[in-house]
C-alpha cells in the first residue's frame, strides 16, 4: 500500500503513523459525532475532538511539514502521508479545520515572525480554534463587496459589521477577518486581520440553524470592536491578495497542515452495501441495472478524482498548472452530493427516514449527508463561481466579473 517513490524516512514515518493510529484510535464517544468539523455543536463534541487533535499533534501527525520554530515537525512530504493514514484508519476528524487549512498556511505565507510564533503552534495543537470571517450578507459570491469596516483609531483598529456562515464561530478564539479599510477601491480597499472572538468586547456570536436542523455555523456581529495593529496580516490594502492565499488552501489546491476524514472509495463501498440490502421493484436493488449503472458511474468519478490528484503532480501530463488543482473543490463536493442523493434513492421508501428513526438505513446517514452536502457546493466559493474561475483562468474566457 505504500508508494514506491517515497524516501526511506517517509516510508518509515508512514509506518509509524499507521502503527500509532492503530494503537491509539480513541474509543467511540457516548454521543453522536457529526460528519465534519463544520457541524460540531456541543461542548462534549468539542472537548472530545479537541483532545483527539492534541494527541495527534503530540504524536507528530499534525503540522509535520511546518518549521519546528512554529511548533511543526520540520519535515517535508510527511503531512500528506499522515492525512492518508488518518483517512484509512477511519479515526475522528481534526476539529480545527479553519486553523489547520486556512489560518496556519496563510500566516506562514504572510505573517510576521512574531505572528508565526504566536499563532501557528496553537492552531496545530488545536488549543485555539479558528473561524473564518469572509462571507457577509451582501458579500457571498461577490466576495470583494465587503461592508464590514476597520477604521484606524490611534494605534489600532475599530471593527464594525456583520459576518455570516461562520463555521465553528461559537467555539473560536480567533477569526481570520477580511474587512474594508478604504471605500475608495473595491479590491484594494481591503485588509486582513487576526481578530479575537471568544470573550472579546463587542463581538456577538449567534448560531444559525441549517436545513439539517443542526447548528454549527453562526453569524458574528462586530460593534466597535477594538483590535491592535499588531494583529493585521499583510499590508493595509493588501487583504484581497492575502485572502486569495487562504482560498487556495481552503479549496484544496495547497497541502494542508492536517487532515483526516473521508477518502473517495468510502461512499462507493457504502452504496454497494446499501444496494445489496435494499429492495427495488420486488428484487434486490443491487440487481437493478439502472441502480448498478448509477453506482458504477460514481465509482468512476471517485477513481477519476483520485487519479486527477495523482496526475496533478506530473507536469508533463498537465497542459496548464492550475487546470487540475482548481477542479478539486468542485469535483469532490459534487461527487459527495451525488453519492449522498443516490443513497437516498437506493434506500427507496426507507430513504424517507431521518436520524431519529431506529429503522433508518445507516442511522439516517444518507438524507443527512445529502442535506449537508449543499454546505460543500456553496461554501468556499459556490461551484458556479468555481466554474467561472476555471473558465477564465484556464480556458481564457472573458471575466464574468
Amino acid at each position: 500500500m505504500s508508494e514506491p517513490t517515497l524516501r526511506p524516512e517517509q516510508r518509515e514515518f508512514q509506518e509509524y503513523a499507521r502503527r500509532w493510529l492503530a494503537e491509539n484510535a480513541p474509543p467511540a464517544p457516548k454521543f453522536r459525532l457529526p460528519l465534519s468539523a463544520i457541524e460540531v455543536m456541543t461542548v462534549a463534541q468539542r472537548d472530545y475532538l479537541q483532545d483527539w487533535q492534541r494527541r495527534c499533534y503530540e504524536a507528530g501527525l499534525v503540522g509535520c511539514d511546518y518549521p519546528t520554530a512554529y511548533g511543526g515537525g520540520g519535515h517535508e512530504g510527511f503531512q500528506r502521508l499522515a492525512n492518508l493514514e488518518m483517512s484509512r484508519a477511519r479515526v475522528p476528524f481534526l476539529i480545527n479545520l479553519v486553523g489547520l487549512n486556512m489560518a496556519a498556511p496563510t500566516i506562514l505565507v504572510h505573517g510576521s515572525e512574531e505572528q508565526k510564533r504566536r499563532f501557528i503552534p496553537g492552531a496545530l495543537r488545536g488549543d485555539e480554534i479558528w473561524c473564518q470571517g469572509f462571507s457577509e450578507p451582501g458579500a457571498g459570491s461577490d466576495m470583494a463587496n465587503q461592508q464590514t469596516s476597520a477604521e484606524r483609531r490611534g494605534d489600532g483598529w475599530v471593527v464594525n459589521g456583520h459576518k455570516v456562515w461562520t463555521s465553528l464561530g461559537h467555539f473560536a478564539k480567533w477569526m481570520i477577518l477580511l474587512a474594508r479599510t478604504s471605500r475608495e477601491h473595491k479590491h484594494d480597499g481591503l485588509s486582513y486581520f487576526l481578530c479575537p472572538i471568544e470573550g472579546h468586547a463587542g463581538v456577538t456570536v449567534r448560531p444559525l440553524v441549517k436545513i439539517t436542523g443542526e447548528s454549527g455555523f453562526n453569524e458574528v456581529l462586530f460593534e466597535d470592536v477594538e483590535i491592535p495593529d499588531s494583529l493585521r496580516l499583510g499590508s493595509v490594502g493588501q487583504g484581497w491578495a492575502v485572502a486569495m492565499t487562504t482560498l487556495t488552501y481552503e479549496r484544496g489546491a495547497g497541502e494542508s497542515a492536517g487532515g483526516g476524514g473521508g477518502d473517495g472509495a468510502g461512499p462507493i463501498a457504502r452504496l454497494v452495501a446499501l444496494a445489496r440490502r435494499s429492495r427495488r421493484g420486488g428484487a434486490c436493488a443491487a440487481d437493478d441495472p439502472i441502480t448498478r449503472d448509477a453506482i458504477v458511474a460514481e465509482a468512476i468519478a471517485a477513481e477519476g478524482l483520485r487519479q486527477n490528484m495523482r496526475r496533478a503532480r506530473v507536469p508533463a501530463l498537465c497542459d496548464h498548472p492550475l487546470r487540475l488543482p482548481l477542479q478539486q473543490k468542485l469535483l469532490s463536493t459534487e461527487l459527495f452530493q451525488r453519492c449522498a442523493r443516490l443513497g437516498v434513492e437506493i434506500a427507496g421508501a426507507a430513504g424517507t427516514l431521518y436520524k431519529l428513526d431506529a429503522a433508518a438505513p445507516d442511522a439516517g446517514h444518507w438524507p443527512l449527508a445529502y442535506l449537508n452536502s449543499y454546505g460543500g457546493t456553496i461554501a468556499a466559493g459556490t461551484n458556479e463561481i468555481q466554474r467561472n474561475i476555471l473558465g477564465e483562468r484556464v480556458l481564457g474566457l472573458p471575466k464574468t466579473k
Partner: protein, 389 residues
C-alpha cells in the same frame, strides 16, 4: 514499475515521443490539410460512396519512424513502448484526427503479442512496417472477444476460412487481417494478407471521414500452418483487451482536447451582444464541464495504462473505466462543440464535424460508456442474481 508509480511511469522517453508526434502531426496534418484530404467534396463519401483519401506519404514517414512497431517486443524488432507512452502518442493522433491504420495496427499487435511464439514472425513483419487490423466482430457488433462467425476448416497442415467478419476497422488501409476463427472447440487467430485469394472486403458506408470500415468475406481463404498465430485466440484477445480499450480512450481524449480548445477559442472571439460569447455562463460553464469530463478521462487513461505496464490485475477494470469516461467525455464535448459554434458549427465548412464524427465512431468501438459500466458492475458489484453475502 508499479501501478502506484507517482508519475504513472510517464518519463522523459514518453514525453519525447509524445512531443515528436505533436510536432510531426502539427506540421504535416494541420486541420486545413485534413479537411482538404477527407472533406473536399461533401458528395464524395456520402452520395457517391467513395472512401475518403488519406495521406499515404505521411503514413510512410510514420512507418519509417517505427510507429507500426510501437507495441512489438524488442526481440521482434519493435520498440516495446510502454502503454503510457502509447497513450501519450495516441492522444496526439486523436488531436489531429489522423486517418491511418495506426490504432488498428496497435490493437492487432496487442493480440499477437499475447498469442505466443507462433505469432513472432507476424510481429516482426509489423515492426518492419506492415499494418494490420483485427477481424474479430460478428454481425451483431458484439464486443466480446469470443464472438466471431468465421469458421476454420482443417486443410493440409493449416486451415481454410469461411464466413464473415464485421466492423473491421481501417480494413482498406491494413496490409494484414488478424482473424478470429473457430475450429471445433479451438479458437484460432489467423493472419491473412488483405489481398489473399478468397478474401473480399465490402466497404461500410460510415459517417466518420477519418477512418474506413469493412465487412470481410472469407470464401475458403487458405491459411498455412505458419499463419495460425494462436490456437487459444480468445484468451489472447482477452488479455489484449485492456490495451485496446486504452488506445481507443486515448484517441477520444485527444479528439476531446481539440474540441475543447477549438470551442474555447471560438467563445473567446465570436461576439454577440457586444461581447465574446464566452462571457456568458450558458457558454462558459458547459465548456468547463467538458474540461472536467475530459480531465477525468485523461487521468483514468494514464492510470489504466500504468496498470497495464505494471501487470496489475486491476488493469481490466481500470481500462474499462478509462473507456467509459473517455466515451462520455467525447459525447459531451462533441455535442457542445457543434452547439456552441452556433449556425456555423452546423455547416460542412466548419471543422468541428470532422472531430465530432471521429469521436462518435470511437465512442462505439469496443463498447460505449454504458456498455463499459455494465461490465464494470459485474466486476465491482457482482453479477445480477449472484450470491449475496
Amino acid at each position: 514499475m508499479s501501478s502506484a508509480a507517482r508519475d504513472f511511469g510517464f518519463g522523459p522517453d514518453e514525453e519525447l515521443l509524445r512531443d515528436q508526434a505533436r510536432k510531426l502531426l502539427g506540421d504535416h496534418l494541420p486541420v486545413a490539410r485534413l479537411r482538404a484530404l477527407v472533406a473536399a467534396d461533401p458528395a464524395a463519401a456520402y452520395e457517391r460512396g467513395e472512401r475518403p483519401a488519406w495521406d499515404e506519404g505521411l503514413w510512410k514517414q510514420l512507418v519509417a519512424l517505427g510507429w507500426t512497431g510501437l507495441a512489438v517486443p524488442e526481440a521482434r524488432g519493435g520498440s516495446a513502448v510502454k502503454m503510457v507512452g502509447i497513450a501519450g502518442l495516441i492522444e496526439e493522433v486523436g488531436r489531429h484526427a489522423l486517418p491511418s491504420p495506426l490504432i488498428s495496427t496497435l490493437c492487432a499487435s496487442y493480440a499477437l503479442r499475447a498469442a505466443g511464439d507462433a505469432a513472432a514472425p507476424w510481429l516482426e513483419r509489423i515492426a518492419a512496417g506492415a499494418s494490420a487490423t483485427l477481424a474479430t466482430t460478428d454481425a451483431a457488433g458484439s464486443w466480446e472477444p469470443g464472438a466471431c462467425e468465421v469458421e476454420a476448416r482443417p486443410e493440409g497442415d493449416g486451415c481454410s476460412l469461411v464466413g464473415w467478419a464485421h466492423f473491421v476497422q481501417d480494413a482498406f488501409k491494413a496490409d494484414l487481417l488478424v482473424v478470429s476463427a473457430r475450429l471445433g472447440d479451438e479458437s484460432l487467430l489467423c493472419v491473412v494478407p488483405r489481398h489473399a485469394v478468397g478474401l473480399t472486403l465490402q466497404q461500410n458506408h460510415i459517417h466518420d471521414l477519418t477512418r474506413d470500415q469493412a465487412t470481410a468475406h472469407f470464401a475458403g481463404v487458405r491459411v498455412p500452418a505458419d499463419a495460425i498465430a494462436s490456437r487459444e485466440g480468445v484468451a489472447a484477445l482477452e488479455s489484449a483487451w485492456p490495451a485496446m480499450l486504452v488506445t481507443l480512450a486515448a484517441d477520444l481524449c485527444g479528439i476531446g482536447e481539440w474540441q475543447l480548445q477549438t470551442t474555447a477559442e471560438y467563445a473567446r472571439t465570436r461576439k454577440q451582444f457586444e461581447r465574446p460569447i464566452g462571457f456568458f455562463q450558458a457558454v462558459k460553464h458547459p465548456l468547463v464541464d467538458g474540461m472536467l469530463a475530459l480531465d477525468r478521462a485523461r487521468s483514468l487513461l494514464y492510470h489504466a495504462a500504468c496498470c497495464i505496464d505494471a501487470g496489475d490485475p486491476e488493469a481490466p477494470v481500470a481500462a474499462r473505466m478509462a473507456k467509459s469516461a473517455a466515451s462520455d467525455a467525447g459525447a459531451f464535448l462533441s455535442d457542445r462543440s457543434v452547439q456552441l459554434h452556433g449556425g456555423i458549427g452546423f455547416t460542412w465548412e466548419c471543422d468541428v464535424h470532422l472531430f465530432f464524427k471521429r469521436s462518435l465512431h470511437g465512442q462505439a468501438l469496443l463498447g460505449d460508456g454504458v456498455f463499459q459500466r455494465r461490465k464494470l458492475a459485474d466486476a465491482l458489484i457482482g453479477p445480477i442474481g449472484g450470491a449475496r453475502p
